[in-house]
Symmetry: C2
Subunit: 145 residues, 2 copies
DNA sequence: CCAAACTGGTTTCATTTGTAACCATCGAGA
DNA sequence: TCTCGATGGTTACAAATGAAACCAGTTTGG
C-alpha cells in the first residue's frame, strides 16, 4: 500500500517548523511587551514603514482583515498608535505609531534580531544560505501561483 | 533608528510561507474528505504507522493533546478509527484505522503527493535541494535546543 | 503496603480565529 | 446625476484553540 512519510512531507514539516519557531519567538514579545502575534506584526509593520493603512498591513503580513482590525484597535487602546483619516478617501485611515508605540518598537527590534541571530548561529554557513534561498524560492513560486 | 526588515526576518517569512502552503493544502483534504488539519494529521499518522496512541500522535505531529483528543473523537464518530485498550496499562488506548478510515487514507495519499509535487516542480533542482536541506538543518537545530 | 507524584486522556471554560453580514464611502457607467 | 458594484473597515456569530482542572490508572519511595 502506498504510504505518505510525514517526516519527509514538505508542507507538514514546514508548518511544524514554522509553528515551533513562531511559538518560541512569540514568548519573547508576549513576555516583554504583552503583544499577541497580530499585534506584534502591526507594530512591526508600522515601525518599519512609518505609516500604513489597515489594508496595507493585511497585505504585507498576510493577516485576515479582522485580525488587523482587532490588533489595530488594541494598539490604539494602549495609545501605541493613532489613526488619521485620509483626505481624499474617507474610508481609509492612516495608522502611525505614537511616542509610546515607537518606544515599544525600539525595545522590540533588538529582541527580534537577537532571536533570529540565535537561531541562525545554530546553522552552518551553508545551511543558513540553504534555508534562506530555499524560503525565497518557495515564496517566489507561490506568488506566481 | 534601528529598523527590522520584515521581508527578510526569517521567523516571520517562515511562518507566512508555511501558513500559505498549509492553507492551500488544507483545501485539498477539506474539500475532498471533510477533514480539519488535526484530523488530517491523525489520519496520516495512523495510516503511516498502523497503530498509535494519542500521546504518540501528539509527539509526532506536535499537536496539543486536546487537539489530538478531539480529532480522534471525531474520526471515531465517523467510524474511521477504533480504540483498543492496552492490556498492561489501562490508561492507554491503541488507535487503528478501520476499513473506511484506510479507504480515506488511500484516497488522500495521492492527493498529498500530487500537491507536494506541484509545489516542488515550481522550483529548480537547486532550489528544491536548498529548501529541503535548509528545513532539515533548522529542524535539527531546534531539536537540540 | 500506602501516600504522593506522575501519566494518558478528556472536559470545561475563556480566548482567538474565520466567515459572513454589515456600514460607509467611492468610482464607473447609463 | 443616479445607480450599482467594488472597497476600507468593523461587528456579530460560530467554530477552533489552549490553559487548566480533572478523572482514572500507574509508579515510586518510605
Amino acid at each position: 500500500m502506498e504510504i505518505l512519510e510525514l517526516e519527509s512531507f514538505l508542507p507538514y514539516r514546514l508548518y511544524r517548523l514554522a509553528d515551533a519557531v513562531s511559538r518560541e519567538f512569540s514568548k519573547v514579545y508576549s513576555d516583554r511587551l504583552g503583544l499577541s502575534r497580530p499585534e506584534w506584526r502591526t507594530l512591526s509593520g508600522l515601525g518599519q514603514h512609518g505609516t500604513m493603512t489597515a489594508t496595507e498591513l493585511g497585505k504585507q503580513s498576510a493577516m485576515h482583515k479582522t485580525k488587523v482590525s482587532r490588533a489595530v484597535a488594541e494598539l490604539e487602546r494602549r495609545r501605541w498608535l493613532t489613526r488619521t483619516p485620509d483626505e481624499n478617501d474617507r474610508r481609509v485611515e492612516h495608522l502611525m505609531l505614537t511616542k509610546a508605540g515607537l518606544a515599544a518598537y525600539r525595545e522590540m527590534v533588538p529582541l527580534a534580531k537577537a532571536f533570529e541571530g540565535d537561531l541562525l548561529t545554530k546553522l552552518s554557513t551553508d545551511e543558513r544560505a540553504a534555508m534562506v534561498s530555499g524560503v525565497a524560492a518557495l515564496e517566489g513560486a507561490l506568488s506566481k501561483g
